[in-house]
Symmetry: C2
Subunit: 637 residues, 2 copies
């Protein structure tokens, strides 16, 4: 099986470019692809609040519900803002596009850097959490957790390289199974709690945990803030849809907005339901069992439904990682398109996905898993920070945009840099919501950054500026390149002339070098065969063989250089350099390299790589044209 056959077997048949529009996601599949990240956070978000509050004792756990509702309120604000983004930016781009269009280059790069780091963490955190779910059930697998996480990343990479449609189908089942299962648990729980349909009442737990600290004043508020910050993990992944409007079937932005609403509803119904029931039956967080597992067991009594929820919790955590496989390559595409990332991240692979972005993400996420040894607890302080930063920037951007819309008259249309805007009669109201959203998310960002700074958040705060510096440097590079290649005002005479000379470095006279000399004779009247002589026998042999082919060598000058060292490329290059700079300054000098090519790659190791090394060295000279004249050997080794 050849290389391309193997590729086709793994990835599938290449899709033609024109097939693009058919490869998009319908709403049901899109919801599964984009929502697994925010939905999966229900596996730990409520618990993240409670595990902070419990420091004040089990009494303080009653604060879980108000804090949970505050988080849910924040989610509502963010969802609202992103629906606006989707409707105003139908070509997608999320925070990055919004910031670029309304706030300028650097805020947009901050948003992009923040999101990229978070996408990488989404993969490493979710995969590690999923592996933990498995190793909790099978502790004997614990020592293989890093390997399992890497294998999971490879599987996700493979599925995504095959293309979006299929990944949508693969991911739909576990996402909906998880949502359905937890909904049923919540419904039964509510029924039992309120005594609907004569359901047996829910037992209220009476476990009491004494406070480990008694906090007043600022310290008390700080603790509440930390609990709130913990709950904010529920917000990760919400921006994904706005980034990926292009992946929806047309009408893209309408479908995306509807999916956004559905996602917000799904995620928050689960979050509020779990938070409400957990606090009402006085649940207490334990190290050995998650809140979701405890709650499910209390409500269902540990039957098949309990098993169902546990299995799909593990699965949806793996799928959450998949969200980043949609987001990271897409944001990289936007950045590459604007020359802030290498241009090849813009190219799509055989299956119309951004293969390079998928590859880079897989690589970096695997690296994180290796560094943190698949311990997602150690990675959590780095997580959610980027998302919150990009929320603030995006909402600030929407605030700006709404200001511009508010100045429009009915029927008026304005073209911004990337989209067009029309009059809207409630723009001012929306603007207020964006202002509130921007303020709240900025405050949450500061809370997250400060409460988790020493635990690892500082790493992200170092990486983001580095990424921005990288974006900036790459952009500068491409600007220089486009200037250098520019044909603005270029005249044909501006291009370098070609010198009438052809230098042919040879080590011996054989079929290969003769062929190169023949070719050189067609190019120029001044052909010079250049040979470095390292022993008297070599010179004698060369001259003898040279005379055997007068018809070829007649009009060629044989230049020999005596040299007492072994690095024969040095005198060859200095001769060529001299011809190029002294004899024919500012002209193109031609070097004809007789290159020996074994049919089989392995044969190469049996030969000096002189031709390759010479070519590599000569590439550094800007006015040297290199001609490879191959001579092929049919040989098994």
């Amino acid at each position: 099986m050849g290389r391309s056959a193997l590729k086709e077997f793994m990835i599938g048949k290449p899709f033609p470019t024109s097939m693009d529009v058919h490869e998009r996601l319908d709403k049901v599949r899109a919801l599964a692809v984009f929502a697994s990240d925010p939905i999966s956070s229900n596996a730990y978000a409520t618990e993240a609040i409670m595990s902070v509050l419990v420091i004040l004792g089990s009494q303080a756990l009653r604060l879980t519900l108000p804090i949970g509702l505050a988080v849910a309120g924040l989610v509502l604000l963010v969802v609202f803002s992103y629906i606006q983004t989707i409707l105003h930016y139908p070509h997608g781009g999320g925070s990055y596009m919004v910031a670029k269009d309304n706030l300028g280059r650097y805020p947009s790069l901050v948003a992009a850097a923040a999101l990229l780091t978070d996408y990488i963490l989404t993969v490493s955190v979710s995969v590690s959490a999923g592996v933990r779910a498995v190793t909790s059930a099978f502790p004997e697998l614990f020592e293989y957790r890093v390997l399992m996480a890497i294998v999971a990343i490879l599987l996700l990479t493979w599925v995504n390289l095959r293309g979006a449609r299929e990944s949508g189908t693969i991911f739909a089942i576990p996402t909906y199974a998880f949502v359905g299962g937890v909904w049923l648990v919540i419904l039964i729980g509510l029924a039992r709690y309120f005594g609907w349909f004569g359901a047996p009442p829910l037992p209220v737990l009476d476990e009491v945990i004494a406070p480990t600290a008694s906090l007043v004043g600022f310290a008390y508020v700080w603790l509440l803030l930390r609990a709130f910050a913990g709950g904010c993990t529920a917000l990760t992944g919400i921006e994904a849809i706005s980034d990926g409007v292009m992946a929806f079937k047309p009408p893209e932005s309408k479908n995306a907005a509807k999916t956004m609403v559905a996602m917000g509803f799904l995620a928050m119904s689960l979050f509020v339901g779990i938070t409400f029931l957990s606090s009402q039956i006085h649940m207490v967080p334990h190290e050995y069992e998650s809140i979701l597992s405890q709650l499910t067991r209390q409500i269902t009594g540990g039957n098949l439904l309990y098993f169902w929820v546990q299995v799909f919790t593990a699965l949806i955590l793996f799928l959450a990682a998949n969200t980043a496989y949609q987001d990271f390559p897409r944001l990289s595409y936007f950045l590459a398109h604007d020359n802030f990332m290498p241009r090849w991240m813009e190219n799509r692979g055989d299956r119309l996905v951004y293969s390079s972005g998928i590859g880079v993400l897989a690589l970096l996420a695997s690296l994180m898993v290796l560094i943190f040894q698949a311990n997602e607890i150690a990675m959590l302080p780095l997580y959610a920070l980027g998302v919150m930063l990009s929320f603030s920037i995006s909402q600030s951007g929407m605030f700006q945009l709404m200001g511009r819309i508010a100045h429009l008259k009915p029927g008026e249309t304005l073209h911004t840099m990337v989209t067009e805007i029309h009059y809207e009669h409630n723009a001012k109201f929306k603007r207020v919501i964006n202002a509130v959203g921007a303020t709240v998310t900025s405050i949450v960002f500061i809370i997250l950054a400060s409460t988790k700074f020493l635990e690892g958040a500082w790493i992200v705060l170092v990486i983001i500026p580095l990424l921005i510096y990288m974006f900036h440097s790459i952009h500068q590079h491409y600007e220089r390149v486009s200037k250098a290649l520019s044909i603005q005002g270029l005249k044909a005479n501006d291009l370098s002339e070609v010198a009438d000379v052809a230098i042919v470095p040879i080590a011996d006279i054989h079929r290969g070098t003769l062929r190169a000399l023949m070719y050189a004779r067609r190019l120029s009247r001044d052909v010079r065969a250049l040979c470095v002589i390292t022993s008297p026998e070599m010179k004698e042999r060369l001259e003898r063989r040279w005379k055997r082919f007068p018809r070829i060598t007649r009009r060629i000058k044989l230049v020999t250089v005596d040299y007492d060292y072994r690095d024969v490329l040095t005198p060859i290059i200095s001769y060529i350099e001299q011809v190029n700079t002294v004899e024919f300054p500012d002209k193109l000098t031609t070097v004809v390299v007789p290159e020996f090519v074994p049919t089989y790659r392995i044969g190469r190791i049996l030969h000096n790589q002189s031709a390759n090394r010479l070519r590599d060295e000569l590439h550094h000279y800007k006015d040297i044209v290199i001609i490879d004249v191959p001579i092929h050997i049919d040989s098994k080794i």
Copy 2:
């Protein structure tokens, strides 16, 4: 510091080729370089005999002396044979050359394969044993033993890359210090044993170890054979001088022969002395302390001399590894010269040493150290086997040669393949000794192979045929190449004609592609700019820009190919292939590639490597000439 400056700092200033003869070894340095291997085996050879005999109880240890003398007799035979080799083959080559000259290709390749495996093992075994000497003293270093062994190999590699003179100087001191120290110990021991100079008598130990087995008949003989096989580790490294006659100062073969005699004398005086004294004072082998260490302590009472011997035992074990750094590259050179190894192993580096051979040896020995985790005990069964095989072959070869010499008349001279021989009046006597030597070493080889087969000797017996197959394949490859390049009977008309066509693949019109088109116009009247169109906008843009440079594009045909996939190289290559095979069969087709070259290497990752990939693909076609027309961008990234 640039790459070449760094190289010069590490390796030293390059030596001119003409300096070659000055870089040779005098006898004192040569002895140190070549003798450390056989001399260092005194650290374990006596013990290797005793540790087998002790199975029959401490009574059986009295057999150590006769077995040791048998080993010493074998050494004498081998040394005699190699002196003959040196005198008859003054250009060096040892077993390989002797076998090639007298027995034919395959026996010589068997000898070469056997020796190469043994050289690799010399490095890994000696370095590991040296590390064990260090970790015995500092057990807390035990967990770093693999790292220490690799560092030792790197140090040896570095010293050897700097050149032979300096390595001779570095190695002289420890070798002579070890020999001097042990001689002194033996002298004091003999004085005390025989009561010379009124020295206090040596205590005779009375430790009794009961036999763990009682063997009779064949089993008893088998045990004696195993003890003898253990003692044969004393023979490793003896052939080195004959392989390296070229490294001596002139007169090479006389100096080498004298050094051989000195080496045999040094090594055997130590071996016989240690063996004699150990058995006379009823020494018993212990796991926790080597025989040499016990003996030295008994004789000296553990004073400064004891310390001296211990330190230089460790050092000389490291140096023994160095012998292989002389042998392996040199034998590889001979093999490469005869086209049995890659030709680049023939080339000498900046300091006139065979750098490639040194590098390959370092790599393979490090690999062995990694596989066996620096445990030399596990490697020992693989060791000494190759040496014994090459001894047998070499002595058989000398037996043949002496037969030819015996047929010469006085004053007659005969040219063999690689040397010349003269009448010698005692050739028949020498022939008998060679016959005895060949027989004895063959028997010892069979003993070694059979007694150690299951412990690992089988690995060597598998590797040797594989190496021979490799030699054979490489040789065939070079024969095919030389046939293909041959100018035997070649006429100028036999070479392919050049087709009057130049294809220039382009993706856009810019300074770089215009430069390539200009160049192509000089080459041919039929220039074709080839562009793969992936979108209607691209086509429109290309045609618009094409028309802006009529002076350049006037006589050029613009070929556009509509393509609905992203791998644009595929249609480019199939177009070129078609031109090459259909339009101009059997002629050279020229492809001009506009190549974008960023000034700094790192800039390359920001660009599609299309030009490089195209060139790589086109290399597979034998009648396509590739022209790189570079465009340089001065850019920091």
